[in-house]
């Protein structure tokens, strides 16, 4: 049978396109590690298959997908379906497109946007946008490729094999193979990996826990108006406009961090004021869950997996409280009673040392150090400090007794020693709520 030149060309082009597509799919499949997105997509397909809509969707960064348990919110609010669309480092542009996708597919009545200061100020990471991109489809996905990425990053957005090429490494490939094998043995069900397990419609259960008083002090600088990027605010406005257009009631929330984080950031109140003002201007409800009354009892350090994220247990507690607050908001009630009015009020109520930090400066004499101590605490609290050597059996041996001094001029510390620094409000060992840190030399 004679094939015309045109037909040969068409056949050749189609075959070439097929070879390219097969190569991209094969390579990306081999190189792409397992992610929460796979189970999230599966859950959403199951919801769609049942013909269900979601009453509430939540979007935001990592504190979103680790803090809000859909099942608990469904029970608390009497909803049939709640979807947690949070993802790691989700930018405001990512939240916009994620929300757009969820609204189009599940027609929620309510949407919650989890907001942070970083969302207004940090550079948008390619990786975080790629995570959102994997959750989008159709024209929404194409629009996000156009608007959410720079020229340099567009190749990552268009080709997964490019994005995951760093996994073309024996160790990484072996790990991916092992994960896929475990997935298969688990019949496609989620499994525990690195202390996390995908749990329920976007929520991830984390098993990590910080011992009470042992939150390490981070150095996250100062919040400043000059840090705000105009294009981030633009996406915040776009989210508000999208919800208005689609008849979705939008609420803003800030998920909880540890008390260390709240006390540690200079001008943290600036972020609170910004969002309160923004919410008021746009007729939105905003809650900062860090200001929950009774949070010290409800969400102690042990409910956090790290300085900034609740663990699974903490998420369940928080979701229970939040569903109560939301229910009252939705009924038009006043929920001010649940919260401290501002950071000052919160810190006034704080009666413990939240976190302690020590800096060891080597002195001229070998093995001797100057120790500079500092702590984060409630406003009415005076810190006392003590230094110990930790013995091999775990017992503590005092090297500097309780003192209010923040500078210890000279301490002898040999290599291989562990030093424990403790801070308390009473200046003795009787206190329950001691803050402490261990330093290995």
């Amino acid at each position: 049978m004679r094939i015309s030149k045109l037909s040969k060309r068409i056949l050749s082009a189609v075959l070439f396109a097929a070879v390219l597509a097969a190569s991209e799919i094969g390579l990306s499949r081999a190189l792409e590690p397992l992610s929460f997105a796979e189970w999230f997509a599966k859950d959403l397909r199951a919801i769609e298959k049942e013909g269900q809509d979601a009453e509430l969707v939540i979007v935001g960064g990592s504190r979103t997908f680790r803090s809000f348990v859909p099942q608990v919110l469904e029970d608390g609010l009497g909803f049939g379906c709640v979807i947690n669309g949070g993802s790691a480092l989700q930018s405001l542009s990512g939240s916009y497109y994620q929300l757009k996708e969820l609204i189009a597919r599940f027609h929620p009545r309510y949407a919650v946007l989890a907001v942070t200061w970083n969302g207004l100020t940090y550079g948008i990471g390619t990786q975080s946008n790629l995570i959102v991109l994997d959750r989008l489809s159709g024209l929404n996905r194409l629009e996000f490729i156009k608007n959410g990425f720079t020229n340099e990053d567009r190749l990552s957005a268009l080709l997964k094999s490019y994005r995951f090429r760093d996994n073309l490494d024996p160790e990484a490939l072996s790990r991916i193979r092992a994960e896929r094998k475990t997935l298969s043995e688990n019949n496609g069900e989620p499994f525990l990996s690195d202390g996390d397990i995908y749990y329920d419609t976007g929520f991830v259960y984390s098993y990590g826990s910080i011992p009470q008083g042992n939150v390490p002090v981070t150095h996250h600088g100062i919040y400043d108006w000059t840090q705000i990027h105009g294009d981030r605010v633009e996406y915040l406005d776009k989210i508000v406009a999208l919800c208005r257009e689609k008849g979705v009631e939008l609420m803003l929330v800030s998920a909880p961090s540890t008390m260390m984080q709240i006390c540690n950031i200079d001008s943290y109140q600036l972020a609170v004021d910004y969002y309160e003002e923004y919410a008021a201007e746009n007729g939105l409800i905003y809650h900062n869950l860090n200001f929950l009354k009774g949070r010290e009892e409800l969400l102690p350090d042990t409910m956090f997996m790290d300085y900034n994220h609740l663990n699974g247990e903490g998420a369940h507690v928080l979701s229970g409280i939040y569903s109560e607050i939301l229910a009252k908001d939705m009924a038009g009630g006043d929920t001010k009673e649940y919260f401290y009015s501002d950071l000052s009020e919160l810190k006034e109520s704080l009666e413990r040392i939240v976190a302690v930090d020590a800096e060891f400066i080597p002195l001229e004499e070998q093995g001797r150090y100057e120790v500079r101590l500092s702590s984060l605490h409630g406003d009415g609290v005076t810190p006392y400090y003590a230094l110990y050597v930790k013995n091999a059996d775990g017992s503590l041996e005092g090297i500097c007794g309780w003192t209010r001094e923040e500078n210890i001029p000279s301490v002898s510390i040999s290599v291989g020693t562990s030093i424990v620094v403790r801070a308390g409000t009473r200046g003795d060992d009787s206190e329950d709520n001691i803050a402490w840190q261990e330093y290995k030399f």
Binding site: L15, L20, N151, S161, D169
Partner: protein, 530 residues
Amino acid sequence: MPLVSFSFAIFAILTVLVYFLMPGKYRWTVLLAASVIFYASYGVKYLVYLAWTVGVSFLGAGRIESINAETKRKSSEGGPGADDKRAVRAAGTARKRRLLAFIMLMSMGLWAMLKYGNFLIGNINALLSLAGLGWQAPGIPLAVPLGMSFYVFTAAGYLTDIYRGKYAAERNIAKYALFVGFFGHIVEGPFSRYDRLSPTLFAGGRFDYDRLLEGLRRMLWGVFKKTVIADPVGIAVSTVIGSGGEGFSGAAVLFAAVLYGVQIYADFSGYMDIVCGLCRVMGVQLEENFRRPYFSGSVEEFWKRWHITLGAWFRDYLFYPVSMGKTAQRLGRSMRSRFGAEAGKLVPGYFALIFVWTATGLWHGAAWRYLIWGWLNLAVIVCSMHLSGSYDKWRAALHISGGSRLWRLFAVVRTYLLICAFRAFSISPSVHAALSMFGRLFTSFTAPSLEGGIMSLFTGLEPRNVIAALAGTLALLTVDILEENGKWESVKASCPMPLRHVAMAALIFSVVLFAGQSPDLTGSFIYAHF
């Protein structure tokens, strides 16, 4: 805009689309607009230099052609005898020569000032210091615009051709501007000749599907060579040679020198593949700049296969004029009378070669190491020309056939190593560093281990990139061997379509998976710095 980048990809796609949407006779205007945009992307202010070269050379060529026409008319007018006609032609030639010299000064003089001014001032200052004088001349605070070393020479070649009456001058300044500033050759060549490029440049070729595929395949091959071979290999080269070999063994220096040969070939020929491929899509035929140069059996042959258009330019516009000029001819006659006919025949050529290789060295860079590089090439070429007869005798005495494969292999490897050795001067930070590196070959030649030694030279690269570069080099070598033996076309033709598609997909995904460090897959091309 870098050639391997998203912005260039968008630029190329839009240029091709608009080119073919435009009616045929206006398509060259699309190339002109694209060339202006392309060059302006490197800096709008550089357009001023380009405009100056275009303006001066266009006007000059027109004037020279007028003198040509006037001289021809006057000498063909009835009446004057042969002597008068000779006088008219001589007067015309003298006028032309003065005008040509003036225009060259205007055009090339600016380039020379920007490129060599600080080199000259640096040497003067060194002499002043040696003489104990405190005063130092100030430097020129301007850099050579990108591509100026290419377009100034393109214009100079055109002017010389008009001077020689080779073809008629272009009457349309916009077309002439396109010829000089064409994006296909402005950054790294090739050096185009007006009579060879203009037919396809201004023709507004029809869309041809086979040409489109051919062009795209060639572009892909160029991107592969640049990103998978040249850039990763270049990391090891700059690790060793960038530091002048300090802290590295002689073996590492040798390895880096050999690698540099791979890097510069893959880089430069990769660039050529990209621009030639893009031009091919639009039916524009650029001249080839490479013909499997590393298969050369001698340095002389190498320069007929490497950067072919540069060599041809120096041959046509420097070597022939100098070797046929009065000084060289006088020298030849003098040599003939003292040393015989052979000397009389060769010396004018040697004399011209001194100019050619000095100019070639300086063209590559304004520094003594480039001059030394040029002179080393000259020395080897002259020696092998002079001793070619003796070589034949020695080979015959040793019963080695000059046509044998073994001899050819020896000649090829010898030539490659010589070229790599000469390049040590052009890429080292200084002459001293280059000599120091040579010294290491003899004083501290310790073979590095595969694990900590060779791999550690590829700083910051994953082993997969190094393996891919090696595989890419082998692929490049295989293609070159097949081309050299005239088998490449038949291999391509006999390859089944699915296999061809798999090969293309393999090239594309090799670039995607193994291309160098930069997020947009690019590093700058080497020859753009000349």
